[in-house]
């Protein structure tokens, strides 16, 4: 088994909503991430998938220590990153890079590409001389598919297209040789014809450097394309986790099944079968006890689902599901209830 780079154990991140200075009530709490665990191995891409507010971005921010977790452990190569200070923290920051969603926001418009790329070198003390840094910057650009690198190095972000900017962001992430990367919706702002090029680039880099990536996306088709393993999140919890193809072709949790059945497919002759789901995502503030999906689940069982939070259980090899009744749902013993609206 490949080396474990990152180990997240029961990680939690809560946000307290301020209620004003003179309020004596207990503050409202948003449990953005509520106890998630996973391991990221050498050369592996994990897809974190979920809808708005499921906690996927927060998870990404905590594992690079842009935020401190409220509880649990985040171990990088055996060390708890929440306890790092000074030199050790600096060393950690060098080991991890993030690629953000919006390449129009994540590059400083007043920096040339050269400055954008060499800043992290200077900060981290890589590259002795100016010439050395120029070489590294050009190499990184070419690595990211911007060839010849010399041509791009003097430009400003506004002179580049969206896809090129995202490639610069990737070059900036790669230039300090990180041990893992967190990519938060890296292609969702890009045009379709550009998107696949950036995805392929990331896959190639992963192959070449055995570089682990946490790939955060709302787009399951993209997650399928990129990841070795998928974690489906819902309101701060992982509801299902498993090898990519197993999740895509054999989803087990009622939420994952509904989610997958809602994905449009570029085939006009396909008959679209929908798996029902009730209502909208509830407000994440002060969630009721029990399963978080209970309010939308068509298999909801009173007395169980609204009382006990389901644990992740291994149903198939490497495929975990957090649902009390998954076996009964799959065997057909439990039938969906509630309104199921007509199809088009």
């Amino acid at each position: 088994m490949a080396e474990v780079i990152l180990k997240v154990e029961n990680m939690k991140k809560y946000y307290e909503l301020s209620r004003g200075l003179l309020s004596f009530k207990k503050p409202d709490v948003v449990k953005a991430v509520d106890g998630i665990s996973f391991e990221l191995h050498e050369g592996e891409i994990i897809g974190l998938v979920g809808e708005t507010g499921c906690g996927k971005t927060t998870t990404g921010r905590v594992v690079v220590r842009l935020e401190m977790p409220t509880g649990g452990n985040v171990m990088f190569k055996g060390k708890d990153i929440t306890k790092l200070e000074g030199d050790e923290l600096r060393e950690f920051r060098k080991s991890v890079q993030m690629i953000f969603q919006d390449p129009y926001e994540s590059l400083n418009p007043r920096f040339t590409i050269f400055k954008t790329l060499t800043e992290p070198l200077i900060v981290n003390g890589i590259g002795e001389t100016y010439e050395e840094r120029v070489d590294l910057a050009i190499k990184a650009l070419e690595e990211a598919g911007l060839k010849p690198g010399e041509e791009y190095i003097g430009r400003y972000p506004h002179e580049l297209s969206g896809g090129q900017r995202q490639r610069v962001a990737i070059a900036r992430a790669l230039i300090i040789n990180p041990k893992f990367i967190v990519a938060d919706e890296p292609v969702s702002m890009l045009d379709v014809s550009i998107r696949s090029g950036v995805l392929n680039l990331m896959l190639d880099l992963k192959e070449k450097y055995n570089l682990p990536i946490i790939f955060i996306t709302h787009d399951i088709a993209v997650a399928r394309y990129m990841s070795d393993k998928i974690l489906v999140m819902y309101l701060g919890k992982v509801v299902e986790e498993g090898p990519t193809e197993s999740i895509i072709f054999d989803p087990l949790h009622p939420y994952t099944r509904a989610l997958l059945s809602a994905v449009p497919v570029p085939d006009p002759e396909r008959k679209h079968e929908r798996i029902p789901i009730k209502g909208d995502i509830p407000s994440p503030i002060n969630l009721p006890p029990g399963c978080r999906f209970a309010s939308r689940c068509v298999y909801f069982q009173k007395g169980v689902c609204d009382v006990k939070d389901p644990e992740l259980r291994e149903i198939k090899k490497g495929h975990f599901v957090a649902c009390h009744f998954v076996e009964k749902i799959l065997s057909g013993e439990l039938k969906p209830t509630g309104e199921v609206k007509a199809q088009a």
Binding site: E51, A221, R224, A262, P268, I281
Partner: protein, 333 residues
Amino acid sequence: MVLLSVQDLTIHYKVASGWVRAVENVSIDVDSKETLGLVGESGSGKTTLAYAITQLLPKNAYVKGGKIIYQGKDLLKLSMKDDGTLDIFNEEIRKIRWKDISMIFQAALNAFNPVYKVGDQIIEAIMAHKDIEYEDARKEVERLYEFVGIPKDRIDNYPHEYSGGMKQRAMIAMALALSPRLVLADEPTTALDVITQDRILLEIQNLQKETGISMILITHDVSVVAEVSNKVAVMYAGKIVEKGSTVEVFKHYAHPYTEGLMASFPTIVGEKRRLASIPGSPPDLVNPPKGCRFHPRCPYAKDICMEQEPPLIEISPGHFTACHFARELYGGK
């Protein structure tokens, strides 16, 4: 029956560096009760085309030619000023806009005025066009809310109290408020989560079955088009490069751009294959490439493509493609 026919429409924007050739010689037909999917990337001219049909173009847009015929009437004749700009306040157009042709805007999240209640904004739209009492207009809104699936007690909420999906539904309700014949939906589901998107697309299809309205669905997402439209037009750099019935175009595309677009979409069905990508990026429309506008990115480009603009030819009945090598490409090979 043809409800709307856009013929050889050309629209340019005046900018500091010259003219942006946003839409050139575009022709589309929309029959009653059908949905036309208009696919293209940002800057392909799809939104400009929609705004031209609803006559809501910005001030620096100039119509350089063509017709927009709605139920036998050329809308451009009504509103076009001598210099080519459109008079957005034209009385006749205002009667048609929203009442006959309405629009679901892209950013529904911002399309409502934050300081007025959502219901009141829809009521206002109804009362502006119909001779109707407030109470009756409100009943109308209740009916619309039920139709798009928002609880009635939400009528008196402000936009910030709505979720994204609800705002989009309210936007649909507003577009339908005056029972239009044609609705233009500009990326109606792009900002939404997939489950909400799926519901809204289903809503739109049900709506069409019930009311028989026509739609133009503008999107960058070919899978959304496959899901809801029966006809499709693919735009690239201000031109239509391919159009026809959705099934025909998806199965037998004959334009390299369409081919590239299809091959670059990841999907959750079938075997996983490496995605193709189209090299380069869309051209600057102030100085579009000579000849075929796609030639700098086209894997099949030959000399003729750099010189001559390919005409839109009918490759099979009702299926048009603008490529010099369409016959060789036909059938997706």
